[in-house]
């Protein structure tokens, strides 16, 4: 299975770039989940 090297814009060491990917993925996944759940709250707007 092909693996890869991470090299970031600021020439960060691999570990830092990996943490950057993890942080990005975590934040975006939480945002997506929050949007999904908040959609159901729209029902509160119905009179």
């Amino acid at each position: 299975m092909a693996q890869q090297t991470i090299h970031a814009a600021t020439a960060q060491p691999d570990g830092k770039a990996r943490r950057g990917v993890r942080r990005t993925v975590t934040i975006l996944a939480v945002v997506a989940l929050a949007v999904y759940l908040s959609t159901f709250l729209q029902i509160l707007l119905v009179k």
């Binding site: 092909a2 693996q3 090297t5 991470i6 970031a8 990917v21 990005t24």
Partner: protein
């Protein structure tokens, strides 16, 4: 095994895996997955196109000709679902997969295995969606918008909803992957404001996807619970509101329109400078215009709902907000024209498609501006004028950009040049027949022909016949495209150079043609003179 490893830790990176299953089903390579996306989207283009042919055959003349009304309704709904979620969006994801790592100097996507999963969800989602056509309850027949209570009558709603959930999961994972790649894996020196416009367009599109796909998932989940679990989200009898569904759907649906056009803007911003042999005019303005369009897309959704009876204040707000979008869009169109102005232009097939995009997308944009006007929209609503508008934007807009991108990058992918003669035959036939197909639909709409009906007044007969002839010929023309692709990939004797096009600039043109299985394992040096948009800060 960690998703990332240092260069020295692996020894299997010099070629593609042997064996069909390993190469294509287990692939974590961005180029292979990009190819899979593109083949999938081409397949779906023809499936969705065959539905369109059936629709145009039924509408060839007044009266019921070939099918029952319910089947016609299934065809209109499935045509849209297949084309939007199966053809246009996966094509952009495929292009993004192929080109974003090459353009930013990354060795692959940030999350290669998730990339594989994102793709392989799609064929199963569409198999499930298409299988509903053969189920006793029939497929979705309430339009791609699936408004309740009409959509709740479909016997296969659960299948359609599950298929949409899968597509949404695939899109969200793909978007997360693209953002993580662009933010974390650019080559040293590839600052954000040095990235190609295509990469910028995809970065912004990916944020749009993450913000709105979950809203669609929520809306269709509520449909599901209303039908099968006794909830009343959209049932007035139980205290719900069907208009609520429309608000949630279009909160997704309008940004979705931009999800299908922003990457096209990025593609045109790559092609035009190459064949004008000039840096893109106003790089920063182009980037900010994309961001501005993306922001505005969140505050215009109710312009799809003027006819439901919104408060006057809301109608005025959404009207003006919608009209505002023409400003950043105009910036983009003028900048493309300014890029061409004074350039040493040549007219290879990608450039022809790009120029056709600029002209025909602008026509679609203008008709969109017309229907932004609340009083006028009451006349246009649910007529063929709307059908004409969004097909100008999505066919001669998004699809033409995708086809242009395929011609533009195909030599880099395959290592072979395509047949310029047949490319031009494909272009001229496409551009003529797409106008024969969709331009008369403006007249039909203005004369009052409603959309989504299998029969119509004889007064509409002539324009419908012209439109159908254009449709059949436009569909047949796309077979030429398939022929050009197959010839280029397998039979072309003319080898592509590394740079391919004389005016091409950017990291993707510094690698050999065809692109090796693994690229940029050692970070490339970003030379500002070699950026497609020149020195941004000058």
């Amino acid at each position: 095994m960690s998703y990332a490893a240092t260069h020295d830790q692996h020894d299997d990176h010099h070629g593609a895996p042997k064996g069909f299953f390993q190469r294509w089903c287990m692939s974590t390579n961005h180029k292979d997955i990009g190819t899979l996306y593109l083949i999938f989207s081409l397949t779906m283009l023809f499936i969705g196109g065959s539905f369109a042919m059936l629709i145009r055959a039924e509408l060839f003349k007044p009266g019921m000709q070939l099918m029952q009304p319910y089947f016609f309704n299934e065809m209109t709904a499935m045509h849209a679902l297949v084309m939007i979620f199966g053809a246009i969006m996966p094509a952009f994801v495929g292009l993004g997969n192929w080109m974003i790592p090459l353009m930013v100097g990354a060795p692959d996507m940030a999350l290669p295995r998730m990339n594989n999963l994102s793709f392989w969800i799609l064929p199963f989602a569409f198999l499930m969606l298409l299988s509903t056509l053969f189920l006793p309850g029939g497929g979705p027949a309430g339009g791609w918008t699936m408004y309740p209570p009409l959509s709740l009558q479909s016997g296969s709603l659960a299948y359609a909803v599950f298929a949409i959930h899968l597509m949404g999961i695939s899109s969200i994972m793909g978007a997360i992957n693209i953002i993580a790649t662009i933010l974390n894996m650019r080559a040293p020196g590839m600052d954000l404001m040095k990235m190609p416009v295509f990469v910028w367009s995809w970065l912004i599109t990916a944020f749009l996807l993450i913000a709105v796909m979950p809203a669609l998932a929520g809306a269709v989940t509520m449909l599901l619970t209303d039908k099968y679990f006794g909830t009343n989200f959209f049932n007035p009898g139980g205290g719900g509101d069907p208009v609520l569904y429309q608000h949630i759907f279009w909160f997704f649906g309008h940004p979705e329109v931009y999800i299908m056009i922003l990457p096209a803007f990025g593609i045109i911003s790559e092609i035009v400078p190459t064949f004008a042999r000039k840096p893109i005019f106003g790089y920063k303005a182009m980037v900010f215009a994309i961001a501005c369009i993306a922001f505005l897309s969140f505050i215009v959704w109710a312009h799809h709902m003027f006819a439901v009876g919104l408060p006057l204040g809301a109608e005025i707000f959404f009207m003006y907000a919608t009209m505002l979008i023409s400003v950043p869009t105009g910036v983009k169109v003028f900048n493309w024209v300014a890029t061409m102005w004074g350039g040493s232009m040549t007219f290879e097939t990608p450039m022809l498609f790009a120029i056709a995009f600029i002209i025909l997308f602008t026509i679609g944009g203008f008709s969109g501006l017309m229907m932004a006007l609340v009083p006028a929209d009451f006349q246009y609503h649910d007529t063929y004028f709307i059908v004409a508008h969004f097909h100008y934007v999505l066919v001669s807009g998004a699809l033409f950009a995708i086809i242009g991108a395929a011609y533009y990058w195909m030599p880099k992918w395959t290592g072979n040049m395509y047949s310029e003669f047949w490319g031009k035959v494909h272009f001229w036939n496409s551009v003529i027949w797409v106008n024969v197909l969709f331009f008369p639909q403006h007249f039909l709409g203005l004369a009052g022909m409603p959309r989504r009906i299998p029969d119509y007044n004889v007064a509409f007969a002539n324009f419908n016949m012209i439109s159908s002839i254009g449709g059949f010929l436009f569909g047949a023309t796309q077979l030429i495209f398939v022929g050009v692709l197959i010839h280029c990939a397998f039979f072309s004797k003319k080898k592509a150079t590394d740079r391919v096009w004389e005016g091409a600039k950017g990291l993707e043109w510094t690698i050999p043609s065809p692109a090796p299985h693994h690229t940029f394992e050692v970070p490339p040096v970003v030379n500002d003179d070699e950026l497609a948009h020149g020195h941004v800060n000058d």
